[in-house]
């Protein structure tokens, strides 16, 4: 994390949820529609305070469910507003139907997902089963390491969503980030406001109706458009392929917005999609998401001081999946351990592992890939277990025997 330019920033003691609420407050958001769920609640509480104290001019719809939260956000975005919502776990699962509809209608809603384990059994603590369950829904997914990054990612998400015309999910780990006080460097209001601007409405051409005239893509009586029509076998397939292309096309947009954010004094997260740590001459790396990687980096330092050639890669953007960059980054690495904080029941490994190993299949120097599943339902991953995984990887010579998944920190 490098600060490129010095602007007068305010250092505030915020937890991750508050950091997200601050980003929302500063980002010219017009409509928030949200329903409270632990550990996301602080986001909606802070936004409520901002609204009730007249510190921000937005419509906050206190909906009666997460399903309605995303539905109302969708309606607001189609009507021309910048819309935000936030949820976790079961709330995200309840939105499942509307996740796909929001993405498939190319509606730029931004959502904070405070990662929490899915029921059953009911559990309020952190793992990634909620957002991993939504990985095929067509949302861009950016995973945050700490409260600072949750703040930064939320601000950038509005630009990314509106330029890519795709919804963006910004995730932060429940409790570990959401409820933990950190020093967060908050940019001046006007700097953020200028960076995100107000919501701009894209223009489209409908040549057979309006000729060369570019009309606003929104619910607008001046130029009526029908959104969400029935679409059968004669067009649906093409629309889905186009949607997938839009996902790929968002990669350079994500990179550009990050660059521009660092130019206004925000933090730089180069090279954006993933951040390698001491991988230059590493034999072995652990690759994973979010707050866990802070601890992994500490362990890397420790093992490096013992002369062991280990490194870490923190994946930030899981959708669109940066397969090319994974191949490039992992070429020359002998053994990769992939950390998954969720399960894909019945699959050969966790979701991150499956994607990483699939990406490496076409690489010339195929590293050996291990899968570690850890931390389900908020179980801790202490440094000694990370060290154990590194030592195992350092001794590994070939692909592990089946089953592939190794559980870290589970009672046998």
């Amino acid at each position: 994390m490098v600060v490129q330019k010095s602007v007068s920033q305010t250092m505030m003691a915020l937890n991750g949820d508050e950091a997200v609420a601050w980003a929302v407050k500063q980002s010219n958001v017009d409509v928030v529609a949200a329903y409270p769920i632990t550990p996301q609640t602080i986001i909606v509480e802070r936004i409520s305070e901002f609204v009730h104290n007249g510190e921000v001019d937005m419509e906050f719809i206190r909906v009666e469910s997460e399903h309605s939260a995303l539905s109302a956000s969708w309606g607001a975005a189609l009507a021309g507003a910048r819309a935000f919502t936030a949820t976790a776990a079961n709330g995200l699962a309840l939105m499942w139907e509307i996740l796909y509809i929001t993405a498939s209608t190319r509606t730029p809603v931004v959502m904070a997902v405070v990662n929490r384990a899915l029921s059953a059994p009911i559990n309020i603590h952190n793992d990634h089963s909620d957002s991993m369950g939504a990985r095929d829904s067509g949302w861009i997914q950016i995973y945050s390491e700490d409260a600072q990054e949750a703040y930064d990612n939320t601000i950038m998400a509005f630009r990314i969503a509106e330029e890519a015309m795709l919804p963006v999910m910004v995730t932060l780990d429940g409790f570990t980030i959401s409820h933990t006080l950190q020093n967060v460097s908050v940019l001046p209001d006007e700097v953020v406001s200028n960076f995100v601007g107000v919501r701009k409405i894209p223009r489209i051409k409908l040549p057979h109706i309006h000729g060369e005239k570019e009309i606003p893509l929104m619910l607008n009586p001046k130029y009526p458009i029908s959104f969400g029509p029935l679409d059968l076998f004669d067009y649906y397939f093409e629309h889905k392929v186009q949607q997938n292309e839009a996902m790929k096309a968002s990669i350079p947009i994500i990179e550009r917005v990050h660059r521009e954010f660092s130019e206004i004094g925000g933090r730089s997260y180069e090279p954006v999609h993933m951040i390698p740590y001491r991988t230059e001459d590493a034999d072995v790396v652990l690759l994973g998401l979010s707050s866990t990687m802070s601890v992994v980096k500490k362990v890397v330092d420790e093992l490096r001081s013992e002369g062991k050639k280990v490194g870490a890669i923190r994946l930030r953007v899981f959708r669109p999946f940066p397969a090319d960059m994974i191949r490039k980054e992992l070429s020359g690495i002998n053994v990769v351990g992939v950390l998954d904080r969720s399960l894909s029941f019945g699959a050969e490994g966790g979701p991150v592992f499956l994607e990483v190993r699939s990406a490496l299949y076409s690489s010339s120097s195929k590293p050996t890939v291990y899968n570690y599943v850890y931390g389900l339902g908020g179980r801790e991953l202490p440094p000694k277990l990370i060290k154990k995984a590194f030592n195992e990887l350092l001794e590994a010579k070939e692909e592990p025997e089946r089953p592939v998944i190794k559980y870290l920190g589970v009672r046998e």
């Binding site: 419509e59 399903h67 969708w74 009507a79 507003a81 606003p216 607008n220 001046k222 009526p224």
Partner: protein, 329 residues
Amino acid sequence: MVTKAVWRPDIKELARIEGQKRPVESGHRLCAGCGAGIIMRQIAMAARKPLVWINATGCVEVATTIFPYTSWNVPWAHNAFENAAAVGSGVEAARKKLVRAKRFEGDPDIELDYDVIVLGGDGGTYDIGLQAISGAFERRHKIMYVLYDNEAYMNTGIQRSGGTPFGARTTTTPVGKVIKGKPLFKKPIMDIMVAHGIPYAATVSPAYWNDALVKFRRGFETEGPVFIHAFSTCPLGWGSAPEDTVKIMKLAVETCVFPLYEVIEGEYRLTGPSVSIAKNPDRKKPVEEYLKLQGRFRHMFKPENKWMIEKFQEWVDKQWETLLRRAGY
């Protein structure tokens, strides 16, 4: 909050304007004799300003928008089955904020002065969408929610809903050897909506166009959430002749199966023919006259099932008496 002035619609003038603006274009795929098509046009005719139209999944949605075609010359959006009222809430909130911020004031291509209408069928209203409507009404969004009630899931092939009447044959309440049609009565949807304390609720039978247009207009003019329960004959699902659609819409009112009334700030007021029936009870027709035109009730006319017609009549009488009491008769 509810306007007292009564709008006097001039049907010839409205038809002329409709011919020019064509809010709902012909060529859609609704069945011959479908009540929903009439309701859609009446809503558009009663508009006081431009509309933004939100539609729940259902017959109207699939019949009017098969890509790349659309019947809608008004801005129109469909998201899912159960959330139309939530989508309407979002649109209304966005409009409010954007107007307040004067966001598009200098943009001649964008109009923000519009009313939000949400249209859903009985499945999307009585059943799967009830929660979203309840939430939207509690939050006091200025949206007009119109239920077109054809009394079953017609779009998916005539399955029973919470709005299906007693005795009716549907594909999930067949006339079997033991159980004959639906053994349960309609959910009291008007009572449920009125209980939210909304400023305006009304029933509409499209056959009485003047009554319908006045109520739709009053709904648009009301500051706050509005619920309109519109009766919608479905020839395919009801086993009725397409040419009997309007006749059935009238008989539903004349038999008090579907009385016409409005609830203004909690005050009940009968309208149209329901007023004269209230004053002259002998004008109330027996339910048989309504039931006999529809194949879905045919089994009730068999001698061994006569009790079903009696039970239907008892239910109608009781509902009507309750309404009379509420309306001060």
